[in-house]
Structure formats: structure tokens, C-alpha cells
């Protein structure tokens, strides 16, 4: 009798914030762009720095590094443009990153109940265990505190 092990592999983009690496699902990544001018205007959403203008579209900038590693990105700021779900609608959001990004394929380990809300799962890469980020919990929006459980419904690991 043979045992067939089927493992669901997914593509992720690794990004570096300070000394730590994090992952985002590659299917949500739009592009990585060079430093751009940030436009600021009065608002009460303190987690947002402002907006950038990219190919005629206005994209909000959210620096998640302070929340994840305790310090803001100040040098070598590139922007990783990714999509975030607002209900059923997808919108682009720009995350300041160091520019040191990498595309990998890895096996996702689902999050557990004890994980922080911003953790959508885990992956192992080069001896490190890396958090897969749940942007719906990490970035502001009407559903910012929504449980990330729903986002994991498509992640299947079968053995």
C-alpha cells in the first residue's frame, strides 16, 4: 500500500522590516516600487501616513513596521503595493519596506488560536519561522479587527 502525501504549496513574498522577515501571500502583491512622494492631508486615521500617486491611482500608505518591530521605516523606503480586502472589495495599500524582498514557494502552517490577530499563518524558510501577515487585521479599515480565520479557509494542508 502506498501513501501519497499531498502538500499544498503557496507562493509568498518575503519582506524585511528591521531585523525581521515577514511574508505576504504573493497573489495579493501588485508590485514593488521605488520611494515616492507621500502626500498628507488632515485625517484621523493615525495608522496611515498619507497617500502616494501611482499610475494615476491614489494609494494609502500604512507603515506596519512600528507595530511589528517597534520602529518606523526611515531609510531605504520602497513601497510594496498589495491588495487588502474591505468586505468583498479589494483595494490597494502601500507598505513601506526595505526593498529587500524575495519570492518563495513554501508550505503554510495555519495559525493557532493563541496567535496574534495579524498572523495569518506561518512558514519555514532558511531555518527561520516567518509570520504570514493578515493585512485585514494589521491595517486600518472598517473590518480591522475582523478575525483572520476566514482568510485561511483556502489554505489547505493535506497529508
Amino acid at each position: 500500500m502506498s501513501i501519497v502525501a499531498e502538500i499544498a504549496l503557496e507562493s509568498f513574498v518575503l519582506l524585511r522590516l528591521g531585523e525581521r522577515r515577514f511574508a505576504l501571500r504573493a497573489r495579493n502583491i501588485v508590485e514593488l516600487i521605488a520611494p515616492s512622494r507621500v502626500f498628507r492631508f488632515p485625517n484621523h486615521t493615525t495608522q496611515l501616513e498619507g497617500v502616494i500617486l501611482r499610475r494615476g491611482r491614489i494609494i494609502p500608505v500604512c507603515d506596519v513596521s512600528e507595530r511589528l518591530v517597534g520602529t518606523k521605516m526611515s531609510v531605504r523606503r520602497f513601497y510594496l503595493i498589495t491588495t487588502r480586502l474591505f468586505g468583498t472589495q479589494k483595494e490597494a495599500i502601500a507598505l513601506p519596506v526595505s526593498g529587500d524582498c524575495e519570492l518563495i514557494t513554501a508550505e503554510l502552517t495555519p495559525r493557532s488560536e493563541s496567535d496574534s490577530a495579524h498572523v495569518a499563518g506561518w512558514l519555514s524558510q532558511g531555518g527561520d519561522v516567518i509570520e504570514i501577515l493578515n493585512l485585514e487585521a494589521l491595517t486600518p479599515g472598517p473590518n480591522a479587527v475582523r478575525s483572520s480565520a476566514a482568510t485561511l479557509q483556502n489554505a489547505e494542508v493535506r497529508a
Binding site: 484621523h44 497617500v51 491614489i58 494609502p60
Partner: protein, 177 residues
Amino acid sequence: MRPGPVSKARAPRAEQIILFRIGGQLFAISSASVQEVRSVDSLTGTTQEIPQSTVRKVRHTIRRGDTTHYVVNGTIHFGVQAAAASLIFFLRHTPTALLVDGIEKMTSMTYLQALPQAFCHEEREWYRGLTALDQTVVPVVRPEGFLSVEELTLLDRTLQAELEKEQQDSARTVDSE
């Protein structure tokens, strides 16, 4: 042979806007939303103070015809650096008169992007959306966003109370005479 249909490139619909500053910040408003622009100096003597205003950004009213306009301090509303206002916009369809630093220019916009949903606080009431002009992003204000229904109700009640107090005072004066 029939001539083919004449193809017309549809020109994007343009909207006339006024670019203005409050506390040094650039904003845009549809020209159609502004009934009149007046110099603050020209209003001397026509404003009435609200001594017990319950809405911090409104300290005065201006009576124009049958309508009382609440004068909104834009710097307090947006939480920007205080600046001396030189102009006042009387807005249409709302009893709001807005103090502004000055007008930058009048222009037109052909594109208005909805405010990204990541902006999830009061600014959703303040702005119709964002537009890009000359490689700059400018928020386009919503005229009705300067005073909420609750704020208008509070101000109306305050004015009503002031009026009743005045009437009682004058009645007392007549009685004593």
C-alpha cells in the same frame, strides 16, 4: 455604401473646483457648492457671537436673508495649524460659512477617486474623495461634512435658547417700565 458611425472620443467630464488653503493645507471644493466668497473684513458688524457655543469650531453666526449661517473655523475642524482667515465661503445647501486662509486658484478636475477605505474615521464625512492635480493629491471637501446633523441640532438649540433669553430680558425691561 453607408458611412460608418462617426466615432467621438468621449471627453472626460470636468468639474469646476476652487483650490483653497486652511491652516496652510490645500483643499478643493466644487465651485457649484459655493454660493458666495466674501472678505472677512467686509463682514465686520454683521456677525453675531454665540457666547455659549456647544460646538467649539463655531463661535459666530451670520444672518443672510432668512438663513442663519454658522461660521466654521476650518483650522479647528481639520485640526490643522491655526492661521488668520482672510476669506469666508458661504456654502450652498447647508447653513455653513467656512473661514479659509485664501484661494489658491480656480481650476477643473476630471477625476475624483473615492477616499480609500483604509481611511476609516471622521475624514469619510469630510471628503467626497481625492483628486490628482499637477502631480499633487488634493482632498475634495464635502460641503455638508463641516457640520454634522448632531452639531447643527446643538447649534440650533443654543441659538433658540439665546433667543428665548433675549425675549425674556426684554419682557422684564418692559414690565419694569
